[in-house]
Symmetry: C2
Subunit: 426 residues, 2 copies
Amino acid sequence: MALRLTVLDKIIAVFKKHGAETIDTPIFERKEVLTGKYGEDSKLIYDLKDQGGEILSLRYDLTVPFARYLAMGKISSIKRYHIAKVYRRDNPSTTRGRYREFYQCDFDIAGQYDPMIPDAECIRIISEALQSLDVGPYTIRLNHRLLLDGIFAACGVPSNKFRAVCSAIDKLDKNSWSEVKKEIIEEKGLDESSTDKIGIYVSRFGGIELISELRKDSELMKYESATKGLESMELLYKYCNILQVTDKVTFDLSLARGLDYYTGVIFEAILIGDDVGVGSVAGGGRYDNLVGMFDSKHKSIPCVGLSLGVERIFNVLETKLNKEGVKTRTTEVEVFVATAQKNLHEERMKLLSILWDAGVKAEQSYKRNVKLLAQLQYCEESGIPLAIIIGEGELARGEVTLRDVVSRTEISIPRAHLIEEIRKRL
Amino acid sequence: MALRLTVLDKIIAVFKKHGAETIDTPIFERKEVLTGKYGEDSKLIYDLKDQGGEILSLRYDLTVPFARYLAMGKISSIKRYHIAKVYRRDNPSTTRGRYREFYQCDFDIAGQYDPMIPDAECIRIISEALQSLDVGPYTIRLNHRLLLDGIFAACGVPSNKFRAVCSAIDKLDKNSWSEVKKEIIEEKGLDESSTDKIGIYVSRFGGIELISELRKDSELMKYESATKGLESMELLYKYCNILQVTDKVTFDLSLARGLDYYTGVIFEAILIGDDVGVGSVAGGGRYDNLVGMFDSKHKSIPCVGLSLGVERIFNVLETKLNKEGVKTRTTEVEVFVATAQKNLHEERMKLLSILWDAGVKAEQSYKRNVKLLAQLQYCEESGIPLAIIIGEGELARGEVTLRDVVSRTEISIPRAHLIEEIRKRL
């Protein structure tokens, strides 16, 4: 938890820097809210037992509840973050720290705005967050759903199979092309020649130059969604350049994202040279039609957002800290109040009361009599920087001994100067 | 959420000052873990649908999961806080801001320690938290389960009815004695004469002097649990005195607490002169046997803890802020970047990139062209202290206009000095 909270605090600082507020939604939603939003994965939703009243499920992500919240509250624009737990009945690898309950960490911008201005800021935010977390080198893969649709059309995919092919291509980060090809042909029912054409497209990646290369593809340029997608990518690159994140992005035609609801730019951040194989550590994209699914008049609010894969980031950082032998402190205690003789526990409590009044983070043993050595060992093990030692001699002289736990040096000081001395040292 | 997070941050600061770490437990527990822990209220537990695997329920409080966690992890001592949501299928007053999902905010000390040292610290923590939240005057009611048991025995209550009578007396904060008396006689099956004797005892409250008064009660002093309870109360008062919270406590024989698992001191904080009738804003006590219920060898870990009623505190503070006309900001934006003419949105983005790099919390409109007046109005409504205005003239001169939003004063400064000037003003 100590590591997790440090990570989340850094991420929240980035979200706040970009002017986001935070909201909260209940852990359960009416079952019908979640139905039909997650495709094949709907079977992984946790349902509550019918004990009377509404039929409820546990939230599966934070995006669908956010869209429902916007529609119900008739909110036409908001920039919000939401860090909370979500629930999936899958079989995660618990040895790799993945559970059926896990944190999601989302930032979204909702509102009718001009093209790519909020989208580019999302990319900048991912970059700032990963930078501030010091997870090592990364790249943010970019693509556009309209461009993918154009490519699929140019390859002869019927439009009712676009999303199914997307979800197959999404697996290219874990599976080889030959496995994905097999899935497209056997499960999605596409012919081999179309599939091979797709295979050539999705092998392409690079920088902004890919835009002009694709524009030379006259077959592709026949499709309006392809030309529109490329126009958007061009504008996005322009803004990424202004926001100084161009060196952090890769235009990657194999990026598809599994979820059905994306309608524009999509992105995903991966760590580079990562031997743990954590995969993506952030992802997101534009989803302009989701809110409309919850509005009685189907009025939609355009949205773009990102999700940081904090569980993976926790693992990466934990592994890193373990390698470096860094021990994370679980408390923030600054001063431990110890006694050198028996029956002085009331003196410890008197002193603690003064320390707490002064705002000093301080504790003692809850036992009346403990060996001094045991108290000092506890300080060293817990990383507490300072110890105050009270003995009968000190009491008689109106003094205390202040010990620096790391250097093991001690000085005697008058009680009246104690708080001042502690503040100087912290 | 902005108000809630402010409240929780202040509480967490107090918990950390007392050296607590934090833990997290899953939102669901195996159903059997919760069974038999909450008496009559068990019917309010939310169950998950049986979709295969374990039979699960949503946590009802944070204490039982904590006890389960200690037993499973063989943890013999810990001082932890846990702030999280719990779930109850009751019918709360939603108009008063109470829901079936609500925050609990717990601090507990587990371990084999000397009498009343951790217990007194819990009282001090409640006092510090309520003080730092500025909720107005309060008192912390104290009582002891052993003393109550002694009183019940002296009044002729059979020991198998102690907990049932306790749970009836617990309602004295909402119901009159005649209602409680009726419940004890009709529902708990006690005779009228015993009930009347109880009525006299539970009407008594005061300070430390109540201890010596009760010691004169020779009938009561025949019962060991009563003498032991009074001894504990005496020690608790001594430590409360050292920790300087005696003026914040009331010894109140009508305090019973509903839950079965308390075994020693019990306490509850109420606001004084509170016309909203919020009732208790904190409560807790010692529960030495709960952990043993989860240990295969019934080995228990003594525990004492407190729970802050943060939902009630949120309401009290929200009402207070509304009365005072204080508007809570939902973001922390420091600088808004505005443009005075059309088609300067890229200049805004360039400047934002510099501000973000410098760690300044800054935002803009996501529209390319917005009227300057609309941008400045937004700043005033959102409480953003500073606005930067870029116009063609400023750009040509390498300057920007920095506007103080409240005073509406503006100065022109060279771009090179902007960050420095902003830092000076924040």
